[in-house]
Amino acid sequence: MDLTFTPAEQTFRDEIRSWLRANTPTEPLKSMDTPDGFEQHREWEKKLFAAGWSVPAWPEKYGGRDCSLVEWLLYEEEYWASDAPGRVSANGVSLLAPTIFEFATDEQQERFLLPMASGEEIWSQGWSEPNAGSDLAALSTRAVRDGEWFVLNGQKTWCSRGAFADWFFCLVRTDPEAERHRGLSYLLIPKDTEGLTVRPVARIDGEPGFAELFFEDARVHESNLLGEEGQGWAVAMATTGSERGLNLRAPGRFMAAADKLVELGKSLSDPALVNSAEDATETEVAAGTTDAVARDEIARCWAESRAYRWVCYEAAERLAGGEALGSEASFMKIFWSELDVAINATALNMLGERAEFTAAAEDADRGGAWMDAYLFALSGPIYAGTNEIQRNIVAERVLGLPRR
C-alpha cells in the first residue's frame, strides 16, 4: 500500500501537465454537438494525436505510449484538471477500441485504429432501438446475408455524436430464428453507406447530440464484421464492460468537477454575503451564498470524488495483476453517474437564482458551465444501461440474489 507516485509516474504526470498548460485552448470550444463545434473538437483531437496524447494507453504503433493503467489515470486527472475540451472521439476510443483490440482481425486493426486515434474518423454507437433500450437483447434491426454483403433494414436510436460522426458501430440481428441475444452480429458501418439515413435528434439542451439511423436495404461488406457472425452479443458485452468501468468515465473528470465545486464554495463563502439570521423574518431568502448545508454537500461530493479515485487505483492494481473487473463495473457506473448529478446540483443550488442562466447570460457563473454540466450529467443515470438495471446486476451478479 504505497500511494506515492513513483518518479516515473511523476515524470509522466509532469509531461502531460506541461503539454496541456501550453496547448489547452484558452477560449472554450463550441459545443461538440454543433457542426462548427464538432470540427473544432476534431481539430483538438488531431492536435492531441500529433503530440502523442490522444490515446496514451494504446500501443505505440497506433499512436499511443503503452502507458500503464496508473499512468492513464494520472493522464485523465491532469486532462480534466486543465479544463481541456471534451473528447469528441470518446465513443470510439473508449467503447469501440477495446473491442477492436480484443476481437478484430489484424486487417481491421490496421484499418480502423489509427484514424480513430487521430480524430480523422469519429465513431458513434448504434445499439439501442426504439423498442430495445434497457432490454438490448430485444433489438430487431435485420442484417441479411447476400454473398459478401449484409443487407440492413431497421432503425437505431440514441447514437451519441451520431449527427456528425463518420462511422457507426452497430449491433444487428443476422439470424432471425435465434432468440434474443443469440443470432446477433457486430458491424462497423460508414456514414455514407447507401440506404443509411442519419437523422439528428436534439438533446434536452437543444443541440443535436443524438442521431437516429434508418437502414433501408443498406449494404455493409463482410470485411466490416467485428468478431464472428452470430457472436455479436459476446463481442458487445466486452464493450459494455468498458463502458461501465474504467474507460468511459475516469475519476479525474469528477475530481476536477469536485475541485471546481470547492472553488465555487470558496468564492461564495464571503461572510459579508451571507444572510444574517435576524433578517429571516423579513422577505430575504439568501441567494448565492455558501451556507453550511452547501458546505456539507460540497464535502460529500469531494470525498466521493476521491473515493472513486481510490476505487479506480485499486482496480488498476488488480487489472495489472491480470484480474478482470466484471460486474463491479456496475458499481462504478452507478457511483460516477450519481456523483456527477450531485456535484452539479449542489453547484446550482448554491447559485440560487443565477443557476438557470445559460451561456448567453452575462451574469452566468463560469459561462453557464454548471447548468451545461448538469444537463449532461442527467443523462448519466440513463445511458449505458440505466442505474436500475445496474443495481439489478449488482444484486444478482455481485451479491448473488435470485433473478426472480
Binding site: D135, T157, F210, D279, T283, G352, E353, D363, I382
Partner: protein
Amino acid sequence: MKFAFTEEQQVFAETLSDVFAKRCPPEAVRACWDSPVGYSEDLWGTLAEMGVLAITAPEDAGGLGGDERDLVQLMEAAGRAAAPLPLLEHVAVGIPALAEAKGAAAEGAEGAAASQHWLSQAISGEALVTAGVRDKGTVRDKGTARDKNADSSTQIQYVNYAAQADVAILSYQGELYLADRKDYTTYEQPSVDGTRRIARVEWSPDAATRLAGVSASLTFDRGATAAAAYCVGLAQHMLDATVEYVKEREQFGKPVGSYQAVKHHLADVAKAISFARPSVYAAAWAVSQSAVLQRAGSENITPENAVSDRAQYVSAAKSLASDAADLAAAKCLQCHGAIGYTFEHDLQLWLKRAWTTSVSWGSASQHRHRLATLLGI
C-alpha cells in the same frame, strides 16, 4: 376548521384547467420559447376577458375581491399546464400590492397615486405588472454586474418579465417601490427555461415611489405561495405523464411500470405531491388571513404573531413544494429514460419550468433556513 374549497372555487379551478388544457397545450408552451414576451399574449387577453386578472383585486377597485384561497388552485392548474404566463408576478403579487398601496405616508404619496392608476390598468390587462421582491439590499450576489457599477445607489435584482412589464414592484431595504419601465434598465439573462424572461434590473430607489403601507414580507410570501402551488401542478403533471408512459412502454416483455423500482420511484413522487399540496393550501389560507389582519390592524391576534405564523406556513409549503417538483423532475426523467432527455419530447418543457420555479421565490433549502430561524433555532 374546514379544510376544503368552496364549490365556487372548485368550479373556477376546473374552468381554468379546461382553458389551459385547450389553449395551452405543449405546442403553445414551446411557441413561447421563441416569443419576445415569453408568454401567449392571446391567452393572456382571454384570461383578462374572463376576469381572471381581477381575482385578487378588491371589489371597490373593480376587482373580484378574491384572495389567495381563490388563486391557489389556479396557480396549480397553470403549473400542470406548464403555462408560461405572468400570473405569479401580475395577479398573485403585483395586483394585491398595488391594491394595498393606499392611505400611504406622505413620502409615498406619489407611489400611492401611481399605484391606483396601475391597478386599474393591471386589472383590465392593459398594463403588465411584474415584481422582484428581495431583501433590504444588504445581501447581494457575487458575479452580478453590480461590482462593475460605480454608482452605489444603483440596485440590482433579477426580475422575470422586467423588460416586458410596464411597471415593476421592487424591494429595497425591506420596503417596496413602484418603478415605471422607464425608471429601470434591463439586461436580459437567458434561462435554461426558454419561457422565462429574466433580466438584471438596475434602478435607484426613489422615496417618492415607495409603496407605503404595503408589507414587503407579505408580498414576498404571496410570490412564494404562488410559486409553491405552481410547483405542485408541475409535479402532478410530470407524474401523470410518466404513469401513462410507463404503462405503455415495454421492456423485457412487460410494461416498465410493472417493475418495482419504477413503481417505487413514482410512489415517492406521488407521496411528495400529496403531502406538499395541503401545506400549500394552508399557506394560501395563512397569507389571506395575514393580509386581512394587516388591513384591519391587530384585533385578537397580534400582527407580529400573524406574520411569523404566516411565514412559517409559507416556508414550510414552498420547501415541500420545491422538493416535490425537483423530485418529480428527477424521477420522471429517469422513468422516461432517453426519450425524456430529448428536446422533441414534451417532458423537457416541464423539467425546465420545475428547475426554475423550485428555486424562484426561495429554494427549498433557503426556505428551510428561514423556517428554522422563525422557529427560534
